[in-house]
Subunit: 893 residues, 2 copies
């Protein structure tokens, strides 16, 4: 018989931390804590295999499950001396989901299960607090009705609000036991009215209803979207944890809280956390009451005037601090823990690897390596390369003038400016339909807002703490967030907010600094990020481990300088066409295109030559001897032609032809599928004079800079869109001829290489032949993806979205390399190319060069380098190091 | 020392017929005829290796060549008792090119070489005919000056015309010896004036100048174009044949002619040929004088009133007829021979495999197999599959009204109608720029006209015979041609022609019947070709040998019927979208596209269902149990949307929405690269209701026709543009569901298959996985070529033309499969697909399915069938048989 149920608590457990696939993260760690002897309320985990069985068998449970659950409940009963459904010593349980990967707030939870009209009386007697017992019962009815019976919250809230008004109460705590008893009665009437049958009184019915609801919540819309955003496969399923209840709301010697072994925002090695006295755990996470700090240090840092746990409950705090040290030493990583204190007794409800900001991740990794807790290799493997992105972008300029509106909690670091919107739907609409950058402003966020949060530049809430939904999700997404900025008054229905006398309407611009919690009026200028400190230390270690080189795609001096600053080891792709769009040059480019003769084209090209030469000279100067790969003109000529009548008239005038001629040329150059059209080396073959000019500019610039700097510049000239060896042969011959001319004229001979993009499946297949001529290959994975997949990057957005929603593809092949298809072509080309020319230099350029999973593939495929946008160079370096270290390196996501 | 020179003549030779690669066709066959003991004027061949050496060494000759040539000349001198450059017994030679493949008129020839101011006197004495000697000398000066010294013909023609006018002569034959002596003097003055030095008198200078000119002519523009049109590699080079002169122009006991062992136009087993009394060979080929027939039979057939050779020179005719039989028995194929009779002595100057019309080729092959001369296998291998095309298209309707304008020679069979043009340049311009169909009308054609001839529908000349340039080239191209229609008066400069009182201007339409030689006014209706007789016999043999099945691409009943008539064994591709364009249906299609909801789309689709069901029912009825592969909707939806305001208004009205909505939908569906866009199975995934309707129509039609005909219809449903296995899985599941519905409703269950197009490189690479679901693959080589090569079929025309001209590619990859690139993907997919599913059915559809070289590839790749357009089915059958028989099967091209 398969074991479907794993028990924990009472200092032992069936499971272990490494059984996450089977028990989910929560269940595995509850088991691990039990084994460590920590105080865990006894309970058991129903495995993810049950979930899989549930979905593949029309929502039916496997044989044996009910018996195993009954046995496990009996175990808890024995341990605690309580009985499930018993009228005098009732056992109450929580029922929670727990997937392999953490999905905060995405699935359903039910607390206080086991209460009914009879057991509630028992609880009142046993706890000596009838008010508590009936408050718990009404919470249970509300939660269970919402999650299992699908009766909306507001039905219950209305009853409570009415009752409070009738009685003149302000707070929930004003209600007496009799008030709650009355409210419970009305709640049950609602259920009877909505369902035509009473609220379930049988505790077994309650239990199986809750288990089914948790499994069903795996497929709810929120969970589906979250999985898609976080690349979590549907097939993993969730486990269900059934655990005896402990109560943080049984009086002022009770509390509940969330804490981290280190500060998850800064990474500082200080105990960090929040708690609420006389509350249940959900109250902390929901961010409804403003919590108190765990430590005095934290209280001071937050300017809080509420007592810290360290002051209020020093003994239990000490116990909790011991747990903190024990868990971090055991897991060797920052832990995110949930606890409840019931009548001064500490209970651990959860531990998991703590989500952290990237800045914190760096600090923690570097510190832990310094502390000897982990090795440098482990430190490097700990950092999620993709998350580095948020550190590498501009920060608020400290010298910039600014008008501060408010200061909230620094919930997720980074600076963001954008137009204010007040609902998640508006955020999605403004971004997708108008292309705007938005800041989502909410009193608090909920899992329904996930889509809008994802598209926002930044998130601002007026309630909730560092562990509120908004804060946790924003950190995970790398989106700047300021939480709990309580001085701001939001009127969501009017779509306005007020603060410090400013009235800010939808569409007005504000700026957030998620690293300080500050909110500013308008757009505040930014500066380049600081890449020293922990970042620099970690990147030094990274460079020790990696074997794959990292270059940058760069064509402007600014790009090249940024690339160098971020550690690029050369330029892997300089797109020469970007240089053609400069206003001073575009006219000559257009004259060249409208010219009817080679002579006319040569004349126009001659006027472009000095510009191109200086472009290349600047790059060679900045890169100072590092390799620079220059791709000759790639896009179809029609991309340079004007669209408007005014521009057409202008081009006609400047080219000395009539407008009809220009229009005729535009018409003649129009293409049905420009991606597969007259571009790349096809231009070089049909208009040899274009590539000749570019080659001349490259060689002349190389000679000038070599003389100037007394450093040999070795240009790498790259021919795009090669499909046949003959194309490359002809164009290499033309380039070689220009080289001889320039070297003869200048009396200086320089080494240089001629290579090709591999961006067509045919080129990959014929790589063995092409390598007879090519001295290097650069895989143009953008175009190679387009052709291999038959997928236009410009057109596929709408249906790729549907493809992801329907589970046809796991990830966007333009963001993460399609290893099965495109990757096989890269492997084929690598093998065949190197067979012909063992020292063939191989790299990739294009979006994938900065994508960690793709970098890992490039390492495995044996490429020499990846080339990516300058800001992604550190990401690629880190990913390359993780690839070299092997074993995944999934980071801290 | 390499042997650069191979001698022949005098009953023996160094070479043989199978040494064409080294000696060229002409040289090898001169050697073979010598070995057979036939009368061949002695001479020698300078090998093609010398040509290769010449071009790879800056036009220098290899060591040893001069000595070997001198030795070979000495041999001829010894044999004939003449001496090269000798004043009393001068040896004269011809210098001719001779490539591996025949290239008629493409390269240069020089006759009478060895004449100078002194040897001409010797020739006058020895021949006893000073007039002949000086005529020969002036011919030599003119030819040599033109070919070697590059002095234009007209310089010499002007002198001759002036002299004739001065003397009041009408014909060249009116000139006396003294006249020619005078003309020779003036010719030499022209050379002196043009070159600043005299006409070369040294016979060695003459010889090497001529050899160099022949080698150089290998790279002239005409030859380059001819090779491109006929797929002859540049690397083959040409040989040079130097042969002692014999003279057909030494009096009325002399003649020269061209003959075929059978009639090259009809294939009849009759001796066929033309000759001219007292003429040199070039006079026959150039078509300047109207020639006489060889046989009395031919004379009658042509209604000629000139005596046949059989009557005029019976003894020599008998000798020639013996040669005819000897050669045909030896070569086992129709021979095309050139001969000269010098003073009643027969000399054979050339034999080669005779070019023939396709109709003749069929008859000859079938006859020769019947005669036991060749086997059926050889007969099948003899026919060029591509050339079959001309037999398979409509012929003039015998019952159609027509106005005959003229009757010329039936020089190349087939019917053609088009607009009259009078120059080759106009032909090219009208076809390429205006997209017109043209008939090229010329007095006579010359090699410079080759480009214009190639694009014309038909060719009409007013001079020249069946072996004139126009006739030979047109037959080679399979273009209908009427030659020597002497009653037509052409005024090429005015661009008009007159005949029988009709004045026909450029752009007027005429019709040619190349099978009868008739020319008609206007466009005459045509009828389907006769596919019985020799054609039917040969196709029966073809089907015995081939293993590859041949299906047709067909969607209309007419297509399907034509396909069956031509022997198709099923439908390999029924494109369902073609059915959507019918005016009755397009409105529903457009309503479906503009619908905003699935419900709206389903409503529109429901109205399309009965049409689609009847479409499929018709095809199933016609194909009567043969397999029918139906491809579900493939093109992007925007292809169905209207372009004009009126149509947009119409769609809006009929769909009950406003025009702005329709325009917005058109805008939203616009794609930058529709080839790589939202099409194929991507439509099936995003709008499942479309494929569901199509599947329902297919299954319902199959059930109806199965019941009706009591034959089980087995539909093959094909999913297009699959790139991932998941796409196919989802769509197959949807199709299976519809099948169950239809089978349940109708109470009839039918077998069916679901398969996929392999038309993306990714699909080919992942074929192993895709075959887990797909029951068959059909390679969509059109799209696979587009994606593998990154080449848009719609946009690549202009630069592919340049690519062919510059030698980047040998053939259009959309016409002939790119075996290296696309072919490798087919091979990969075949191997991987069959590994997963050994009985996987594999075919190709698309243009390549009817291209012989591509069919040969498909046979080798192990596919089960090819599918092509109905008219190309016999071509594919023949190509498949030749592939099965192996050994090339290059046909008679």
């Amino acid at each position: 018989m398969t074991q479907w149920v794993y028990t924990f608590g009472n200092g032992k457990a069936d499971g272990r931390a490494d059984m996450k696939n089977l028990l989910g993260g929560k269940g595995a760690n509850l088991a691990e804590m039990s084994n460590l002897g920590l105080p865990v309320p006894p309970g058991f985990t129903v495995t993810t295999e049950v979930c899989t069985h549930f979905y593949s068998n029309g929502k039916a449970y496997p044989d044996g499950l009910i018996d195993q659950v009954n046995t496990a409940i009996a175990d808890i009963e024995n341990t605690l001396g309580k009985k499930f459904g018993d009228e005098t010593e009732p056992l109450l349980v929580s029922v929670r989901s727990g997937a392999r990967a953490s999905m905060p707030g995405m699935m359903d939870t039910i607390l206080n299960l086991g209460l009914n009209d009879k057991t509630v009386e028992g609880l009142a007697v046993r706890s000596g607090d009838a008010r508590f017992a009936f408050d718990s019962y009404r919470r249970f009815i509300q939660m269970y009705s919402n999650v299992v019976l699908e009766i909306d919250h507001h039905n219950f809230e209305d009853i409570l609000e009415t009752h409070k008004e009738d009685k003149g109460y302000r707070l929930d705590t004003d209600l007496t036991a009799d008030d709650w008893r009355l409210v419970v009665g009305r709640y049950k009437e609602v259920v009877q009215a909505k369902l035509g049958k009473p609220f379930p009184q049988d505790v077994q019915d309650q239990l199986w209803g809750a288990v089914g609801a948790v499994f069903s919540s795996w497929m709810n819309q929120r969970a589906i979207i979250y999985r898609r955003l976080n690349d979590i496969p549907e097939s993993w399923g969730t486990a269900v944890n059934i655990q005896s209840m402990v109560f943080g709301n049984m009086g002022n010697d009770c509390c509940t809280g969330v804490c981290f072994t280190r500060d998850p925002s800064t990474g500082e090695n200080v105990f960090y956390g929040e708690f609420l006295v006389n509350a249940q755990g959900e109250d902390v996470v929901a961010g409804i009451r403003t919590p108190q700090q765990i430590t005095v240090y934290g209280k001071k840092a937050q300017n809080s005037n509420l007592p810290a746990m360290e002051e209020a409950m020093p003994a239990v705090f000490k116990e909790l601090d011991d747990v903190r040290h024990k868990l971090e030493a055991h897991y060797k990583d920052i832990q995110d823990m949930e606890f409840t204190v019931e009548k001064n007794r500490l209970w651990m409800l959860q531990t998991r690897t703590g989500k952290r900001s990237t800045k914190a991740a760096l600090k923690i990794a570097v510190d832990m390596a310094a502390e000897g807790l982990i090795t440098r290799e482990q430190a490097v493997k700990r950092i999620d390369p993709a998350a580095l992105d948020q550190l590498l972008h501009p920060m608020l300029d400290p010298k910039a003038q600014r008008t501060m509106l408010a200061k909230g909690l620094p919930a997720s670091p980074g600076a963001a400016a954008g137009k204010v919107v007040f609902t998640a739907e508006d955020a999605e609409r403004w971004v997708k339909e108008k292309g705007e950058k938005v800041i989502l402003v909410r009193a608090e966020t909920s899992p329904e807002d996930i889509g809008g949060m994802h598209v926002s530049e930044g998130i601002l809430t007026t309630r909730g703490g560092m562990t509120s939904h908004a804060a946790v999700v924003a950190r995970g997404m790398g989106t700047p967030c300021v939480a709990g900025a309580g001085t701001i008054r939001v009127d969501a229905s009017a779509k306005t907010m007020k603060v410090l006398g400013h009235a800010i309407a939808e569409g007005d611009v504000i700026t957030l600094d998620g690293s300080t919690g500050e909110v500013y009026l308008g757009a505040v200028p930014t500066v380049q990020p600081d890449v020293s400190g922990d970042f620099a230390t970690l990147m030094e270690w990274v460079d020790e481990f990696r074997t794959l080189k990292v270059r940058a795609n760069a064509e402007t001096p600014l790009d090249a300088e940024t690339a160098l600053k971020f550690g690029a080891e050369g330029i892997g792709l300089c797109r020469t066409e970007h240089m053609f769009f400069d206003p001073k040059r575009i006219i000559a480019v257009r004259q060249m295109i409208v010219a009817e003769t080679e002579e006319g084209r040569r004349k126009a090209l001659a006027s472009l030559l000095p510009y191109q030469r200086e472009d290349f000279a600047q790059l060679f100067r900045i890169m100072h001897g590092l390799p620079v790969t220059i791709r000759l003109l790639d896009p179809p000529l029609h991309e340079f032609l004007p669209n408007t009548e005014a521009e057409i008239a202008d081009v006609a005038k400047q080219s000395g032809v009539d407008e009809a001629t220009v229009k005729a040329r535009i018409f003649a150059l129009h293409e049905v599928n420009p991606m597969l059209g007259h571009r790349g080396c096809r231009l070089g073959i049909t208009y040899p004079e274009i590539y000749e000019m570019q080659a001349q500019a490259i060689f002349e610039a190389a000679v000038i800079v070599s003389k100037e700097t007394k450093t040999t510049v070795v240009p790498e000239i790259m021919i795009p869109l090669v499909g046949t060896k003959t194309e490359l042969d002809m164009l290499k011959e033309a380039v070689d001829k220009i080289a001889v001319q320039v070297f003869t004229q200048t009396g200086t001979t320089l080494p240089y290489q001629v290579g090709t993009m591999i961006e067509l499946p045919r080129a990959a297949l014929l790589a063995g032949k092409i390598a007879e001529t090519a001295e290097f290959f650069s895989f143009g994975t953008n175009d190679l993806t387009q052709t291999t997949y038959g997928l236009s990057r410009d057109d596929s957005g709408p249906f790729l979205e549907i493809y992801r929603n329907k589970g046809v593809i796991d990830s966007d092949p333009f963001a993460t390399l399609d290893q099965e298809g495109v990757g096989e072509l890269i492997t084929i080309a690598t093998e065949r190319g190197r067979k012909t020319r063992p020292d063939l230099k191989l790299g990739i350029c294009g979006e994938h060069g900065g994508d960690p999973a793709s970098v890992e593939f490039c390492h495995r495929a044996g490429l020499n380098y990846v080339s990516c946008s300058p800001y992604r160079v550190p990401i690629a370096r880190l990913a390359a190091a993780q690839a070299a270290l092997g074993g995944g390196g999934s980071g801290t996501k």
